[in-house]
């Protein structure tokens, strides 16, 4: 592959109108923010352009929204990339990328388990860590459970 990382980013920004280059806070070479409608197209394009490894899928609860974070690495471009996608806090739902990067399979289940994000088209949309009959998603900031005992000095 002869294209450079900068050229790839430029072609991405041209092709996807919601894709914005944002500050990557030094954790990657670049960061792309994208609307969830264009996430699948962007991921397909990135995989075709040489981002063949999905390192991590995680999420952040900002209370008003859920921020999904994908971290990608390309050996051919010698570059790393962060893709961010914001979802509404109420019933967050997004397309699964497990068909593009198989590594997304278990990590999306982790996000489903702990943040309650539904992944459409996931091969096995079930909890991965917690028991199947567990109620709630513990990494959400509004998580409450009768079995929780708060540390007295933090109440």
């Amino acid at each position: 592959m002869t294209t450079t990382f900068a050229a790839t980013m430029a072609s991405i920004a041209e092709k996807f109108k919601s894709a914005v280059l944002a500050d990557s806070d030094g954790v990657a070479d670049a960061c792309i923010r994208v609307e969830r409608e264009e996430l699948l197209g962007l991921a397909t394009e990135l995989a075709a352009k040489g981002f063949d490894q999905l390192e991590m899928v995680t999420a952040v609860d900002y209370r008003d929204r859920i921020g999904l974070i994908y971290r990608l690495v390309s050996a051919t471009l010698s570059a790393s990339l962060v893709v961010r996608c914001d979802l509404p806090a109420e019933q967050p739902r997004v397309v699964s990328l497990a068909g593009i990067w198989p590594a997304a399979d278990s990590q999306e289940r982790e996000v489903l388990d702990l943040f309650g994000v539904a992944f459409d088209g996931h091969p096995c949309p079930k909890r991965i860590f917690l028991p199947d009959d567990f109620c709630g998603h513990p990494l959400r900031k509004d998580f409450e459970s009768p079995t929780l005992i708060r540390r007295p000095d933090l109440i």
Partner: protein, 214 residues
């Protein structure tokens, strides 16, 4: 250091621990008790239920420097071969049914050692946890508790010595050990985790013992 599960001597004799001293049972039974208790105590084969960091000390205890074998303790990987389950580590709600199932596969007579603060009370995971069981004694009849995070292998060996004393004091009389086993009802189905929003968040669940984290 290790401490026996029951320290109240009145309840001990009620449960049959002091059978030999209190003269319950006849001459044949007491002789059989002495022989059986001695031989059982000399070879307590262990089932290492190591689920977290405490398992490292359990492993260290069974290797040559600390040498469990000289106490007659052989770790075996099959629950059906073993006499004592050493719960070394954090037990999560998801792991609990597995631990119960393995415990039920062990042949009688069987004993349980809770090794480490996690197995005693949840330890450092007592507060603010959604997944950890606060103490293995909520669902298993624990005989010996060994405090520490993690306890030293010497503590574990002291726990074995204490358990041996406990085993020697037991009786083969039918019912005595059985009574102790049925003190804690075993639940094979996982407890429902449906949250009740009306309950205050600081209230302990009804099944939790009212003890401080060690």
């Amino acid at each position: 250091m290790a401490s026996l599960g029951k320290t109240d001597s009145a309840s001990d004799s009620a449960l049959g621990y002091s059978t030999l001293e209190s003269g319950v049972g006849n001459v044949i039974l007491t002789s059989a008790d002495a022989l059986l208790g001695w031989s059982r105590g000399q070879s307590l084969w262990a089932f290492p239920m190591g689920t977290a960091c405490c398992a490292m000390e359990l492993i260290a205890a069974s290797f040559s420097k600390f040498d469990f074998d000289r106490l007659g303790v052989f770790p075996r990987q099959g629950p059906r071969h073993t006499d004592v389950m050493i719960v070394a580590g954090t037990i999560t709600e998801k792991m609990k049914p597995v631990v119960i199932r393995l415990y039920e596969q062990m042949a009688e007579p069987k004993w349980v050692i809770a090794m480490g603060n996690c197995a005693i009370s949840g330890g450092i995971f007592y507060y603010d946890t959604y997944s950890v069981v606060r103490g293995v004694d909520q669902f298993l009849p624990v005989d010996v508790y060994i405090a520490g995070c993690p306890p030293r292998p010497e503590s574990l060996q002291d726990g074995i010595v204490q358990l041996r004393n406990l085993v020697r004091a037991e009786s083969v009389s039918p019912g005595v050990r059985y009574r102790r086993r049925t003190e804690i009802p075993l639940r094979t189905a996982p407890a429902p985790t449906t949250p009740a929003p009306a309950e205050p968040a600081s209230a302990a669940p009804a099944s939790a013992p009212s003890k401080d984290p060690a």
